[in-house]
């Protein structure tokens, strides 16, 4: 059975692999889970299937984004004179980097934004997004006490 939703143009596979590209393969799995598995399972399992589909969406976006986020992050760390996030975190803690410095705040904010664009782009303000606040539990199954 095939899905009916219009598909985005296929992405190029990373050499030497064949089509589908990893991102397209992951998208196909997510589609299958959404179209065939989700309607067929009980409400408790449905929640975990949704979590799984969301997880595959993260992987698809990360694969599609390529090395852009990593390059931007390396540039940000260079500007702050840090080798990596561990050094940046340690220096904010010990005060050798000022946590209230606007440049530091701007840089860390940009890094978080890049992570969020992959993890859950719906949370970012901008065209087509409401900039909603975190929704920490999705749709958990009901409990009783």
């Amino acid at each position: 059975m095939t899905g009916t939703a219009p598909s985005p143009p296929p992405r190029s596979p990373a050499p030497p692999h064949d089509v589908p590209a990893a991102a397209d393969l992951v998208a196909a799995v997510a589609e299958f889970l959404g179209e065939r598995v989700l309607p067929a399972v009980d409400s408790e399992l449905r929640y975990l299937v949704r979590v799984s589909i969301n997880g595959l969406g993260v992987v698809e976006r990360e694969l599609t984004a390529g090395d852009g986020p990593a390059l931007r992050h390396a540039a940000r760390l260079r500007e702050l004179g840090c080798a990596n996030d561990a050094e940046l975190a340690a220096r904010i803690r010990d005060g050798t980097i000022d946590a209230a410095d606007p440049q530091v705040l701007k840089s860390v904010r940009a890094a978080v934004r890049d992570k969020l664009a992959i993890a859950d782009p719906r949370m970012l303000p901008g065209p087509g997004a409401a900039g909603r606040m975190p929704d920490s539990s999705h749709d958990r199954p009901a409990r009783s006490g």
């Binding site: 975990l48 996030d85 803690r93 969020l116 949370m123 909603r132 606040m133 920490s136 006490g145």
Partner: protein
């Protein structure tokens, strides 16, 4: 979770035997078990009992070995529930409790089943909860106020005291071994803007939508007492109002209610006036703390102690809390 693992000892015959010994069933009762939540150590199981000649009843079993748990013993939870109930906090009534070394082989609590809804999105949007939404902020303020008035002499010694919540949060972050510059900024901000201390009280520790049973008439029961601690009362208020627990809504109290209703009701019960400005610090702390707890949950999956897609997925949601934090600190979105 679907069909969460249930301890092998928790079988229908073992539960029927337990219920019979506690006077809640007869030996030939029909007993049906539904696992509500399963953790690494504690199990919550809904039990339907049909004893011949008696009305069908539904009770809740909490059971699990204390050694495998990372919180206080289960029987202490029973004592907390009783203290909360006596103080007028709506909680499930405790029907029986014990170590049950000869039966289930693990400590247990048998609790009243409280019917109602826990799912935040339904509570926020379904028409049948319209009245509950109007009442909830005040009810939450009243219930929390009553809990915070519980005499510390009645609090079991096993319930931990939180000294400095910022240090506790930093220690938790260090346990993850993961670098998070955004949370370090948050911790520095918290250090630099500490409000004057208030006297410690018995706190719930995880007071928020999702841990509350709510009916059309509003709050029916407060659940999930495992994070209960002796701490600053504003920790519970800030946690409840944290952006992390608004579930897509705009209103500060669980995405449903307003500050004034919550804080006025709280002040009427306790005599303690907490301002919205004062609460902001605790909301920032709540966002950092929830982010750190999410990293720890993902670590449970990655280290193999509890393999779970649900826990794995939480790791990539940590940046939501980082984003909320950066928004709060930049003042772009006042809580």
């Amino acid at each position: 979770m679907t069909a969460p693992a249930r301890a092998a000892e928790i079988t229908v015959p073992a539960v029927r035997d337990l219920l019979t010994r506690c006077g809640l069933a007869v030996p030939d009762a029909v007993v049906q078990l539904t696992t509500a939540t399963g953790g690494a150590s504690r199990h919550t199981i809904v039990i339907d009992v049909e004893s011949p000649g008696l009305a069908a009843q539904r009770v809740v079993l909490r059971a699990g070995a204390d050694a495998a748990s990372n919180t206080y013993p289960l029987l202490v939870e029973g004592q907390l529930l009783q203290a909360a109930l006596a103080a007028g906090v709506p909680v499930p009534r405790l029907l029986a409790a014990g170590d049950d070394t000869g039966g289930l082989g693990m400590p247990f609590l048998l609790l009243e089943y409280v019917a109602g809804e826990t799912l935040p999105k339904r509570l926020r949007t379904w028409p049948e909860f319209t009245r509950a939404r109007q009442l909830l902020a005040r009810q939450l303020g009243t219930a929390l106020g009553r809990l915070h008035l519980v005499s510390l002499e009645l609090v079991p010694a096993e319930v931990a005291a939180v000294g400095d919540p910022v240090a506790a949060c930093r220690d938790e972050l260090d346990l993850t071994g993961q670098p998070h510059p955004a949370f370090e900024i948050g911790l520095r901000w918290l250090e630099a803007h500490r409000p004057p201390a208030r006297s410690a009280v018995l706190t719930h520790g995880d007071y928020r939508l999702g841990n509350l049973i709510i009916g059309p008439d509003g709050l029916r029961a407060v659940l999930d007492w495992e994070l209960s601690a002796v701490a600053d009362p504003r920790l519970d208020l800030g946690w409840l109002c944290s952006p992390s627990w608004r579930f897509g809504g705009q209103a500060p109290v669980g995405g449903i209610g307003e500050y004034d209703d919550l804080l006025q009701a709280y002040a009427e019960v306790t005599g303690v006036v907490v301002t919205v400005a004062e609460l902001r610090w605790f909301e920032v702390l709540a966002v950092v703390r929830w982010g750190v707890l999410c990293i720890r949950q993902t670590t449970r999956h990655l280290t193999g102690s509890t393999r779970s897609i649900e826990l794995a997925a939480l790791g990539r949601r940590v940046c939501e809390m980082e984003w909320a934090l950066m928004e709060m600190l930049s003042g772009a979105r006042q809580p």
